[in-house]
């Protein structure tokens, strides 16, 4: 789920950047340092939308660096347990399938796939119902519920399920429109 949030960060700037473009350089450095990063509390910082305030700089003793407290607004993406998400399948194997929802990877174990769907190996591995009416394969869109999350240094990984009501395949890449 996307959120619009205000975060604060202390930015260190080298004296060579001081001058009339100091604020622009501070913002550019902020964008470079923050955009694309991931934290457990806020999730992925997708984009910075604005700068709320730049505090007074403090000169660090012993070096010429100056630390500026910067408050900025940004769009973050963070998955939550219990959230319903629409993801695109990226890989299918006998243990389950992997899907992507934005920058987040989600794994759905075969234990959390409805029992009437079975794994079919082959050139295009997939899960198919016994009557062949529903198929989950690469590039299928599925609606799933997130039941667990794990945060690494650079990414968030989730576990999902499609075993509840109103969950499952939304669209099949092989189906004609």
């Amino acid at each position: 789920m996307f959120f619009h949030i205000v975060l604060e960060r202390n930015m260190q700037l080298h004296p060579r950047h001081f001058g009339r473009d100091l604020r622009d350089k501070l913002v550019a450095k902020l964008m470079k340092d923050v955009e694309g990063t991931c934290s457990g509390r806020h999730g992925f910082v997708v984009a910075i939308t604005g700068i709320e305030s730049v505090g007074k700089g403090l000169i660090r003793d012993g070096t010429g660096f100056v630390t500026f407290p910067v408050k900025y607004q940004c769009v973050v993406f963070r998955p939550f347990k219990g959230e319903i998400s629409e993801a695109v399948v990226t890989m299918v194997n006998k243990m389950g399938f992997f899907a992507e929802a934005g920058p987040v990877q989600i794994f759905v174990s075969n234990h959390l796939i409805p029992d009437d769907m079975e794994f079919q190996s082959g050139d295009i591995p997939n899960y198919t119902t016994s009557d062949g009416s529903v198929k989950i394969q690469k590039d299928s869109e599925v609606r799933l519920k997130i039941i667990g999350t794990r945060v690494d240094a650079t990414e968030i990984f989730c576990i999902g399920t499609i075993k509840d009501d109103f969950l499952g395949v939304i669209s099949d890449p092989g189906a004609t429109s």
Binding site: I5, V6, E35, C38, I84, P103, I147, F166
Partner: protein, 198 residues
């Protein structure tokens, strides 16, 4: 198999369960109950429900303890003395955002996020001419996800309509999730957002 459980416990069902017998359970302090929660044991379907609810602090132990666990060698149904243990289904997983994000966080619908990110992308086209500036992968993926997930032409009327739900104590996260899901029936809403049933 008897050693599977704590000291003083007896396994009366031929190893089917490692639940405590009533005699040994009485008088045990909390430390035993706490260590019980950390153990992984194999149960059949009925006992699995009991073990799941026992993680909540041993509340189910009392009704189970009334059964004939001490007699030994009997199946689950018989050992209970004909009593059906009170088994509560685990509560459905609910969305709880407020506790984990700061108060100033505003939950965005996918269509709103798509609008914001689209505007930023147009500015980024100019910035991307500078080789020192790299557009992060998460931005592209986030924008693609937001565009694909949004079912609406304009987010503003959607926000106006769904904000009316806040008068009925529906949280921001739930409102956004309803908008993102695009439900076709009331049953679908209650199935996907179980917290609304309260």
């Amino acid at each position: 198999m008897a050693e599977k459980g704590e000291k003083g416990f007896s396994l009366s069902n031929g190893g089917k369960s490692s639940l405590k017998s009533p005699a040994s359970f009485k008088g045990k302090d909390d430390s035993t109950a706490k260590s019980k929660r950390g153990r992984k044991v194999q149960f059949d379907a009925e006992e699995a429900k009991i073990s799941m609810s026992s993680k909540s602090g041993g509340k189910v132990d009392k009704p189970v303890a009334r059964g004939d666990w001490g007699k030994g060698g009997k199946g689950d149904k018989i050992a209970n003395g004909g009593e059906v243990p009170v088994v509560k289904a685990p509560p459905p997983l609910e969305l709880k955002i407020e506790h984990e994000l700061p108060e100033n966080a505003k939950c965005l619908m996918d269509c709103e996020a798509a609008e914001i990110l689209q505007g930023i992308q147009e500015q980024m086209v100019i910035l991307s001419e500078d080789p020192a500036i790299k557009i992060p992968i998460s931005f592209d993926r986030g924008l693609q996800y937001a565009k694909r997930g949004s079912h609406y032409i304009s987010p503003h009327p959607v926000r106006r309509v769904l904000d009316a739900l806040k008068l009925h104590n529906v949280s921001d996260g739930e409102v956004s999730m309803i908008a993102n899901v695009g439900p076709e029936s009331v049953e679908e809403v209650f199935a996907l957002v179980p917290s609304l049933k309260d």
